[in-house]
């Protein structure tokens, strides 16, 4: 009964989503307040129904109700409890249900928290949100129904894909979806502004927190996914330029650009049209990612099952929403008012440059992801676009971007003084050059790693010195007072930028990693970077739904054992699949990483051993970035962009 109630609630949610679209939309066109008011309760109720439905599916997974096809195909009565819960979204149908759950949550959040805006803007935004929800609910019910039943029910399920039986599954998809779908809020507001033909004064203020929220979730989701791939795939990489990864990177880059342009728009009323375009782009790229991953165009652990019907359906949704939004943009953008003026050398100017560079990055990733697919579709030729392409194109864009970040922070709004900004950054320049020299002396090669690491250090020092300069007073007490008076968003900017620097440093350090593939003999030690690794024992072990062979390895330095790690190879009975479990120990900021392969009759075992200096900085940097974003999100003051340090009188804004 719980299961069927959940099924019915899902169907009702579709009916409500249609009502949430049609009634407020008509109301907004006919200027009718009562009709527009329907949007809020409809959005909240729709969310409650989908939550009920999601809860029912979770219940079916937890109690192993094998009368549901979805449970049979993705669960097993012996599966550990946590994977019974996270396994709900570890498959196509369940993950789409999570997608609409998050989508309706976003709708409900708009309904609850959007007090300071016109009824019309809210009604239109929620109508767009309702239409999105209706499209995806229809997709779920018609092509991917998680509540499909069978009779008679079998007695055992086929278990969850072993690669997904990991705590990462509990964190990565929900965060990623909060990010992807979070951009739907911004998209809906952009579409609402275009439909209504006017941009409210508070528009940027309304969308900025949502943009930040989605961006933070996406940042954490991508970082988590990358770390998961790193420790579970067993070959020590954390980013493979796989189309599925790019699918998450594209909206992230567009979202990063959006966070910055929305700041300009809120403070200076400039870049309005561009911000609206980015808002559409960020969510469009999220939809594109969903299409790539869910349609079966790609084969990957993310694709679950491919089915041509699903692909065509999602393609139709994609074309309708992206095409519709862009057409609306083309029709209405010209009529929107332009905002404040600024000189090229100013905070705004720097942010425009940032947006241009980020757009170039985004375009690169889009081309690198779609070109091979298009080529294969048209000519049947399979090519692989990977690290060489992306590194060649992205590094020359990303490094100047990193160089510009602290400079932009030092410039004031409206009109800045470049010479003064560079002057204030001299300590950062000196430290950066010194760091480059030190890395060069220590490691020697590769050149790119040394230069990137130097720029990363400069970025961290530069962005923090901006903070220090703003705080510096004549006495300790005065400094403290200034520190307390500094808005949270100033800390947010500096900390997020410093996080980028840390990630960059971690990426640069991959050039200094050490990798060996050896057939390890028991009790002999192998050099890996500054450490020696040896096998103490290799033995079998039985898990709840798998059996494994694990090796106990000691990591030594100068004869002293620093740590033991247990890389393992697991075999999952129900799916007859094997996967490796890497043995990882963090030493300082670097990690020793070991994965085992086949064992031989003479007692040796094949193993890949890595020393990865500073590798944890890649993910620590992402956490720091997200923390910076959260600080900025916590700052709910109105943003006012004044040329605080400009000596010249401000330019008159355009009227």
């Amino acid at each position: 009964m719980i299961v069927e109630t959940g099924h019915y609630a899902l169907v009702l949610a579709l009916a409500l989503a249609l009502a949430q679209f049609a009634i407020p939309f008509i109301g907004a066109r006919l200027n009718d307040a009562a009709l527009m008011r329907v949007a809020r309760p409809a959005a909240i109720t729709q969310f409650l129904f989908i939550a009920l439905s999601y809860g029912a599916l979770t219940y079916a997974h937890v109690v192993s109700d094998f009368s549901l096809v979805n449970v049979i195909e993705n669960s097993h009565s012996l599966k550990p409890f946590i994977y019974k819960i996270s396994g709900v979204w570890g498959n196509h149908e369940g993950s789409m249900l999570l997608w609409v759950l998050v989508l309706s949550l976003c709708g409900a959040l708009i309904a609850i928290f959007s007090t300071s805006m016109t009824d019309r803007l809210r009604a239109d935004a929620l109508a767009v949100q309702g239409l999105l929800g209706a499209a995806f609910l229809l997709f779920i019910l018609l092509t991917s129904n998680p509540f499909a039943r069978v009779a008679p029910a079998p007695w055992e399920g086929r278990d969850l894909n072993p690669i997904l039986q990991d705590p990462g599954l509990a964190i990565h998809p929900p965060l990623l979806y909060l990010g992807y779908v979070g951009f739907s809020i911004v998209f809906s507001f952009a579409a609402a502004a275009l439909i209504g033909g006017r941009i409210d004064a508070g528009w940027a203020r309304v969308i900025r927190p949502w943009t930040l929220f989605a961006w933070i979730a996406l940042t954490l989701g991508i970082a988590m996914g990358s770390y998961w791939a790193y420790y579970t795939l067993g070959w020590g990489g954390f980013w493979f330029w796989d189309p599925v990864e790019n699918a998450s990177l594209m909206p992230w880059i567009a979202g990063t650009a959006l966070v910055h342009s929305a700041a300009v728009m809120e403070k200076r009323e400039a870049l309005k049209v561009w911000t609206i375009f980015l808002a559409i782009l960020a969510f469009s790229l999220s939809l594109l990612g969903t299409f790539l991953v869910r349609s079966g165009v790609l084969t990957s652990v993310h694709a679950f099952a491919s089915d041509p019907d699903r692909g065509v359906f999602i393609l139709a949704i994609l074309v309708f929403f992206i095409g519709g939004a862009l057409a609306l943009f083309a029709l209405r953008a010209g009529a929107l008012p332009v905002g404040g003026l600024f000189s090229p050398i100013s905070r705004e100017g720097a942010l425009v440059l940032n947006n241009l560079l980020l757009s170039a990055c985004c375009a690169t990733v889009v081309v690198g992801t779609l070109y091979p697919l298009a080529l294969e579709a048209i000519t049947g030729e399979k090519i692989s676009v990977g690290a060489p392409f992306f590194n060649t194109v992205l590094i020359p864009i990303a490094l100047p971007l990193a160089l510009l970040m602290p400079i932009g922070q030092m410039l004031s709004w409206k009109r800045g003084d470049l010479a003064a900004a560079l002057q204030r950054l001299r300590i950062a320049f000196i430290v950066g050059v010194a760091a480059t020299a030190a890395f060069g002396a220590w490691y020697g090669t590769p050149f790119l790693s040394i230069v990137t690491a130097g720029i990363a250090i400069y970025l961290v020092v530069g962005t923090l010195s901006d903070l220090a300069l703003r705080v510096r007073g004549n006495s300790g007490r005065a400094s403290l007072k200034r520190l307390a008076g500094l808005p949270l968003s100033a800390f947010g900017t500096s900390i997020a930028h410093a996080g980028m620097g840390l990630t960059l440093l971690g990426l640069a350090a991959t050039g200094w990693g050490v990798e060996t593939i050896v057939a390890m003999k028991p009790l002999s030690y192998y050099d890996v970077g500054p450490y020696q690794i040896g096998i103490d024992s290799v033995s079998p072990r039985q898990g709840p739904n798998y059996s494994e062979v694990y090796a106990v390895m000691a990591v030594r330095k100068d004869g002293a054992t620093l740590a033991t790690i247990e890389p393992a190879k697991r075999f999952y009975q129900a799916r007859r699949m094997a996967r490796s479990e890497a043995g990882i120990v963090t030493l300082g900021l670097g990690q020793v990483y070991a994965a085992i392969g086949d064992s031989h009759e003479d007692g040796t075992i094949d193993a890949r051993l890595y020393w990865k200096p500073l590798v944890t900085l890649i993910w620590i940097g992402a956490l720091v970035m997200a923390f910076g974003g959260a600080l900025s999100l916590a700052d709910r003051r109105l943003r006012i962009g004044v040329a605080r340090r400009a000596a010249a009188p401000a330019l008159e804004p355009a009227e």
Partner: protein, 371 residues
Amino acid sequence: MIWLIFALLTGAAVMAVLAPLAMRNGAQDESAADVAFFEEQIAEIEREREEGRLDAADAGAAKTEAARRLLRAEAAPKPKVAASRKLALAAALAAIVVIPAVALMLYARLGHSDMPDMPLTARLDSAPDRNDLSGAVARIEQHLREHPEDGRGFEVIAPYLLRTGRGEDAVHAYSEALRLLGATAARLAALGEARVVVAQGVVTPQAKKDFEAALALDAAAPEAQYYLGLAAAQAGEKDKAIAIFSKMAADAPADAAYLKAVNAQLANLRGEANPPVVARGPSSEQGKAIAAMPADQRQEMIRGMVDRLASRLESKGDDVEGWLKLIRAYSVLAETEKAKKAVTEARKALASKQDDVARIEALAKELNIGG
């Protein structure tokens, strides 16, 4: 009961739309939000100036800018927003009709309101259905999880597990039975046999050890002897294999069921120079020729034969032996879907003959392809 819940949910959905339509108060001034925003902004500038974070000149300029925008917002043409009773009534009627209609129509197509929840533990605790063998096995497995010291249970389900393709689980069950109930020649031989099945007919060193242990307990154990003979044949020790099989054939009682298999092995070993030995060697001339082919050619040949059989049965379905052969062949080739289809077609083709259908059903049950 479930329809009551559905009715309540539908009512809640419709109410969510009706409530705001029924409210009387109304129209908001369109520019109010903009005006409020600029007023707030001006207040913010003032506050920052007081806190000393803005100097007076900057604050003045910013305030002028905000004030100018405020005036413009107030002066902007305002679309008339009203709340029409007629429109609200129309929307309410549409909601009352359309929401339940959409929900019920879709659910009638997709839903199974007659199917209750089926949590696994409740199903395991409920009264068993006599004809449901897999249910019985699931119950025993559940019981064994709770009482892992019940050797009899393991011994009972092991053969079933082996037959339904869960070889590793069968090996596990046989070894548990062996550990808990003590070693006998029959248990050791059964364990070894399960290992051979898992290894797809190859007598692995581990299986060999089991058979040797079985022989140590009972020198006459036929399964153990047979598989050790097979092991010798697979290892290329032809003479040893022939010796073992000849001894078995000589010692066997005349009506022994395994005699046929032993003789087939012997014929194989003596007949061909180097025939590939599979667990159940083919005995006919054609079979031997097929067995001597390279693996991929052999596979192709077998498939060709199966396809010919299938098309023959399609035109002339009145041949129960043919159907049985076809179903078995698909099952051996691991083409479960085709096997199921063949079962269904056989039922149709043989519908007039009760006995033949019963044989098909029995085979389908044995191979666990239900259909």
